[in-house]
Symmetry: C2
Subunit: 415 residues, 2 copies
């Protein structure tokens, strides 16, 4: 076959950069996510068998089944999964993404983000904030009570506010602005989250609901420095997916972890996952926790790096090193080294500290294998046991074999 790989990759990355994701709605997952049904839970990363699932993923599954009223405790939850009565499938197989365990259950309110350039849609759940939260595997009554409040009070109010917006809320424009305000869009979303809050506030005030509820929603959104992470992830999914399916392209369009394995998909290689064991993040721990407590790398949030932000835009976010470890020089150097394995400089996302250079975007698996330089990931760190929660944040790398395996598969398909 006569394939011009460079041309295919340019096409893929140009589609990624041309994609303009806008936040359209917030709706129950079962009403909008393709293939969602009442006995299905979506999870982060590539497919996984229950007996291989790590603590935080198990904890989040248990919590979601209790949240849905399908189980009452750990034992009844586990029975639903092992009997096959409730199925587990990757978010990514349903155009969705979820941070950390990434569990999306049928009743959960999800962000609906459309790439208005190419029409594809992506979904993500609502962000719960830091600490003891479902996505890190915690499922105590207070965790579930907060989820119910988010679903019953905050979600519908946000949806009503969004519907009142005169213009669509443009996730790409918001991210571009946040990158000029010290965010990298993955582990640092301080600026994006308050930009999001400030945009919604004048409309939230006019939504239905009590003053007390409106005040509580504005407080929750404004004080949670990750409020915007989930719509940003859905935006990145919508952008990355626009580059998928280009014949011959060696551009990575998915990178995701389920806590046990990391999987990637490649633009020219269809629906096939290439998987390998997750790395162990190296970072800073919350008081009372150490590296001994850490689970392996987990979550779909690496869709940010896949779309050219997150660790790839770390030069924009020197203050992030207080959270994930390292120095401001590391932040700059991380971005610089990502130019070596990518295909383009982003036309929408620029880095002031690098003279407004575009962020590195479109990981070419050929370059990763050839140079031995892997895509850098910024990540939160979950406790390895179900029921605990977040214990820190840090840096991690994907396993090299996923890029090698994908390149072999590419050769088998195209040469």
């Amino acid at each position: 076959m006569n394939i011009n790989i460079d041309q295919a990759n340019r096409t893929a990355v140009e589609r990624m950069m041309a994609a303009r994701p806008v936040l359209k709605d917030i709706r129950p997952a079962r009403e909008v996510i393709p293939g969602m049904h009442d006995k299905l839970l979506l999870h982060a990363g590539p497919p996984i068998a229950w007996d291989k699932a790590s603590g935080p993923l198990r904890g989040a599954v248990i919590g979601a089944l209790i949240f849905e009223g399908l189980a009452t405790d750990e034992a009844t939850a586990e029975a639903l999964i092992t009997s096959g009565e409730v199925q587990l499938e990757p978010c990514h197989e349903h155009d969705a993404v979820g941070p950390m365990a990434g569990i999306i259950s049928p009743s959960m309110m999800v962000y609906v983000v459309q790439n208005v350039t190419h029409g594809n849609v992506a979904y993500s759940n609502l962000n719960e904030g830091y600490g003891k939260v479902l996505r890190y595997g915690a499922y105590s009554p207070d965790v579930l009570a907060k989820l119910r409040w988010m679903n019953d009070v905050m979600g519908p109010m946000l949806a009503e506010a969004l519907a009142m917006m005169p213009d669509d809320l443009d996730i790409r424009a918001l991210l571009a602005e946040a990158l000029h305000m010290g965010d990298e869009g993955h582990n640092r979303n301080k600026a994006g989250s308050i930009l999001y809050t400030a945009k919604l506030a004048p409309l939230l005030v006019q939504a239905s609901g009590s003053m007390a509820d409106k005040s509580a929603v504005l407080k929750f959104l404004g004080e949670n420095a990750l409020s915007v992470l989930n719509p940003v992830m859905a935006g990145c999914k919508a952008m990355a997916h626009a580059g998928h399916g280009v014949e011959g392209s060696t551009i990575m369009t998915i990178m995701a972890r389920n806590g046990t394995e990391l999987g990637i998909k490649v633009s020219g290689l269809g629906g096939r996952w290439f998987t390998g064991p997750v790395g162990q993040p190296d970072g800073l721990y919350f008081p009372g926790f150490t590296a001994e407590d850490a689970n392996g790398d987990i979550g779909d949030s690496t869709i940010t790096e896949t779309a050219g932000i997150g660790a790839f835009a770390m030069a924009s976010a020197p203050a992030i090193v207080t959270f994930i470890s390292g120095t401001p020089e590391l932040a700059i150097n991380t971005t610089l080294s990502m130019y070596e394995i990518t295909t383009a400089e982003h036309t929408a996302f620029t880095i002031p500290a690098l003279g407004f250079r575009g962020t590195p975007v479109g990981v070419d698996i050929r370059k990763v294998v050839e140079l031995g330089v892997r895509p850098q990931i910024n990540t939160g760190i979950a406790h390895k046991n179900a029921g605990v929660g977040q214990v820190g944040a840090g840096l991690v790398l994907p396993p090299m074999n996923v890029f090698e395996d994908a390149l072999v598969a590419w050769a088998e398909m195209y040469l």
Copy 2:
């Protein structure tokens, strides 16, 4: 006299850094500003005679007199001033600061900021946003209508929200956070303004007033990237003033411009102004305007540089160069050169891009004169004619003679 200048300067700058300004209230100027009365207008910079006043200062005085109901047009306004019926005095002589023309009239709502470490209080007016606004010398009916809305609707609502805050709104903490989010606190206050909006939003919702008014206030605050400039300026005034009055100290505690002259005061030199002609800013102009339209440097907002932020913290704000001209390297180098003429590295304000080094704080007039390095100023640019408004933003320097004159005065007093 046996003066240890270095020790005196350390004392002055340590007092500046120990000062913790918090936003206490928003009240009509006549009720709170010391010495304010019904026939007094405060203005930016050192004292000025009416026949020396530049266009934007004149325009703002005319507008304020119409706003107060004391005049009906330019002629009646001017008569009030030239007859001496209404007096003009510097904001700084009343513990106040105002951006650009800096006019504060008796009815205007002002921020009340207290340095809770040392007890002193500082004041500033409410920010009107960009473009055609009183502080740039515009006074058309729409300008005055907006001022009335700010005074009658927004001010009281903000005051009510502030009073509901469980803790004082700490301006120093807010600024410290904003400096990690790409602000420098003078010409770039994007992050600070939405931090301010997001903090107030949950309380504003519960204030009295209609939904429509609350929504309008939240929209105005959130969309005005200078919303927080005025409380920040009052905070800087409260900090800088804490370093004033230390015997023998050569630290600058005021730098301010009235559009014709720039004046400084020095910690060990009492109430005396040292003045010289203002510089002409060099910067970027809004569409339709050029350097030909620019007024000389104007405003009390250089209290930010005096307190160790603004241009002194420009390394925190590389994206600012799209607004004021220059390159990200210029931003870094500006901060680095300010270390040469200052006394300390700020313990509360740090710069991630410089490895979290504290901002340069406490300009020592000895070093300015010895090295020939003047304090850098970031500034907005006003049209030279009354009634027009802002035409751009840029960089400017104070005249060297003010430092030389102050140093001579110091020698006369202490040697």
